[in-house]
């Protein structure tokens, strides 16, 4: 049994081979899951915003309002200040999107799209775009470029400081993608490895394999709960860091 192949098969994306004439469309298992998550989010958002008289509808309204209030008072305003208010929708969507993507991966036979570097990279690109947009909106294009050189820097240090600051911004955005990708990938790899332990030992000795199932399943359950925590944590970290980075650009001197 090739363990690495088995794990890769479960984690890697699978191209479904859609073509538009000669153009190859990037329709994969992950992108289909992403569309599903998007539709689910649209329905959930619509239900939360729709005023209703029944108890479940009112409960959804309350949950929606509490969620938006939490995002505004817990993430956007502390990170970006009042300038972040127009971007509240972005952060509300970002958190729920990542959270649902992380959680859906825990359901058997579903794909964890956030363990795909292309997906997390796409999300980080959006966040990077938001950060740059906030900088240009606040300081203007030239002013934003000037913020890469901290005030009081000696002129002879400018050629060194400017590329360093630009690289620092790019790295911050890349790290957003890599952190989410690595956390979700490693979690699922551990879950799969624990399951595979039973089969590997079972192939060597059936009795030992059966015996190893109990501790392996205990660890599996523990890791699943840990993954549940990580799913929330990573969604929160990604959203919070985006707001902090945008705030740093807005309030840079």
């Amino acid at each position: 049994m090739d363990v690495a192949e088995t794990i890769a098969h479960h984690i890697l994306d699978h191209d479904l081979g859609f073509m538009l004439g000669t153009l190859h469309l990037p329709i994969t298992a992950h992108t289909l899951t992403m569309f599903g998550i998007s539709v689910l989010l649209l329905v959930l958002g619509w239900l939360m915003a729709r005023p209703g008289k029944s108890t479940p509808a009112r409960a959804l309204n309350v949950v929606g309002e509490e969620y938006v209030a939490f995002m505004r008072d817990g993430i956007v305003l502390p990170g970006m200040g009042p300038e972040g208010r127009p971007f509240l929708s972005y952060f509300c969507t970002l958190f729920l999107f990542i959270l649902l993507a992380n959680l859906i991966g825990l359901i058997p036979e579903m794909k964890t799209i956030t363990s795909n570097i292309a997906v997390t990279g796409g999300l980080a690109l959006c966040s990077g775009g938001l950060i740059v947009f906030c900088g240009i909106k606040t300081h203007g294009a030239v002013g934003f470029i000037k913020t890469f050189v901290p005030g009081g820097t000696p002129w002879w240090l400018v050629p060194l400081m400017f590329p360093l600051e630009v690289i620092s911004l790019i790295i911050r955005v890349c790290v957003l993608a890599i952190r989410l990708f690595a956390n979700m990938l490693s979690g699922h790899m551990v879950l799969l490895s624990l399951l595979l332990i039973v089969f590997i030992i079972g192939k060597m000795n059936l009795l030992a394999g059966t015996g190893s199932a109990v501790p392996a399943m205990g660890l599996e359950i523990f890791m699943t709960f840990l993954e549940l925590l990580v799913a929330f944590l990573q969604a929160y970290v990604f959203t919070l860091l985006t707001s902090i980075y945008a705030g740093m650009v807005i309030h840079s001197h």
């Binding site: 990037p26 958002g45 309002e65 796409g122 690109l125």
Partner: protein, 169 residues
């Protein structure tokens, strides 16, 4: 496993488009209205709170004014009470004095009246005694006594009696 770390740029582009579209749609159909409702309610709560604070301030001001008025009324009432008591005392004293004067006057009138009645009675007694003395003297002496000398005699006798009474007293 190499595929794991090599991003599919098609998927990345689709993720960006999908996510930005999702942000726009959710902004339009969900977050905007939820945030609007939230801010509206927060504004209403803030307005209610400020209105309540204003009302409390006004109530406090009214209470202060009422307390001041009550204190003024209480002091006025105490002052009026003192005046009324003083007036009552003065009227009582005046009434008592008048009553006393009237009682004294009535007493004096009664005394005068009694004195007059007594004098009148004495005059009558004297007259009768004189008549009785004239009659008694006429009977004893067997001759008539003129009325004037009889009266003088009676008068002198009465004076002697009075002097005798005074000396005994």
């Amino acid at each position: 496993m190499d595929k794991l770390l090599n991003p599919d740029f098609g998927v990345m582009a689709l993720t960006v488009v999908n996510f930005l579209l999702l942000v726009w749609l959710l902004h339009k159909f969900a977050w905007k209205s939820i945030a609007g409702a939230l801010e509206k309610r927060e504004k209403q709560i803030a307005d209610d709170k400020s209105a309540a604070a204003r009302a409390r301030e006004e109530a406090q001001q009214i209470k202060t004014e009422l307390d001041a008025k009550l204190a003024h009324i209480a002091s006025e009432a105490a002052k009026k009470m003192q005046e009324a008591v003083a007036l009552g005392n003065a009227q009582k004293d005046q009434l008592l004095a008048e009553t006393k004067q009237q009682a004294e006057r009535m007493l004096a009138q009664a005394k005068e009246q009694i004195e007059a009645e007594k004098n009148k009675a004495l005059e009558e007694v004297r007259g009768q005694m004189a008549s009785a003395a004239v009659l008694a003297a006429a009977k004893i002496t067997g001759r008539e006594m003129d009325r004037q000398s009889a009266a003088q005699t009676v008068e002198s006798v009465l004076k002697e009696i009075e002097e005798a009474d005074r000396s005994r007293a």
